[in-house]
Symmetry: C2
Subunit: 132 residues, 2 copies
Amino acid sequence: MTSWDQVAKDFVQYYYHVFDTNRELGPLYSAQSMCTFEGQPFQGAEAIVQKIKSLPFQTVRHDVKTYDAQPAFADPLNPSSPMGVLVFVNGDVFIDGSTSPVKFAQVFHLKPHPQNPQSYYVYNDMFRLNYG
Amino acid sequence: MTSWDQVAKDFVQYYYHVFDTNRELGPLYSAQSMCTFEGQPFQGAEAIVQKIKSLPFQTVRHDVKTYDAQPAFADPLNPSSPMGVLVFVNGDVFIDGSTSPVKFAQVFHLKPHPQNPQSYYVYNDMFRLNYG
C-alpha cells in the first residue's frame, strides 16, 4: 500500500466514524478549508462544522463502498515538497435508521500541516448526494 | 462567476464533448497525469487515453447533472502561486444509445501549465460508476 493510500484509508475510516458518532469534525479542517455541500459553499472550520451539525437528521451512517486516492504534490516542479492527497469516496448514506440508502460521492483534498507534514487537514471538500 | 468556476465550466463542457465525440483526450493530459478508473490506476497521457479508447462501447453520452469547483493553490503559503482547480462532476452516462442511465462521479485536479499558467492540464483524474 502506497503512503497516500494509507493516508486515505486512515482518513476515511476516521472521518466517517466521527461524522456518524458526534460530527465533531472541526479539528480536521482549518480556517482556509473550503467545503461545497450540495452546491453550497462554506469557508473555514467553524462554518463547515456548523453546516454539518445543522443537517436535519438525528442519526446517520455512511457505508463507504469505494475510496480512491492519488498524490497531489504541493509543487509539481518540486517533487520533494510535501505531498497532498486526493481522496475520492463513493458509498451509501443511511439517515435516521432508514434501510433505504442514498448514494453519495465526496472528494477531499488533504494537505500536510506546514509545521507538521506527517499530519493532514482537509483543504478542499466537495459532497454530493446522487439521487436515484 | 469566479475564475475557477469558469475554468471548471469550460473544462467540463470540452472534456465530455471530446469524450463523447472521438475520445481524443490526449492533449488534456501530460506524462505526469494520473487516472484511477474504477479503481484501476493509469499513469501518463498515453496510458490514460489508451484506456479510455479501449472502453467496450461504440457510442457514449455523458449527461452532466452537477459540477462543483474549488481552487487548490499550488502553494498554500503563497497565494500568488498559480492556482489549480478541483472539479467534481456528477451525472449520468448512456452507453451505445441506451436510454437507461448509469450514474457516474468524477474528480479532476487541473493544474496550470508551468510555462503557460492561463492553460490547464489534468493532473489527477478519478472516475467511478455508481451502480443502482
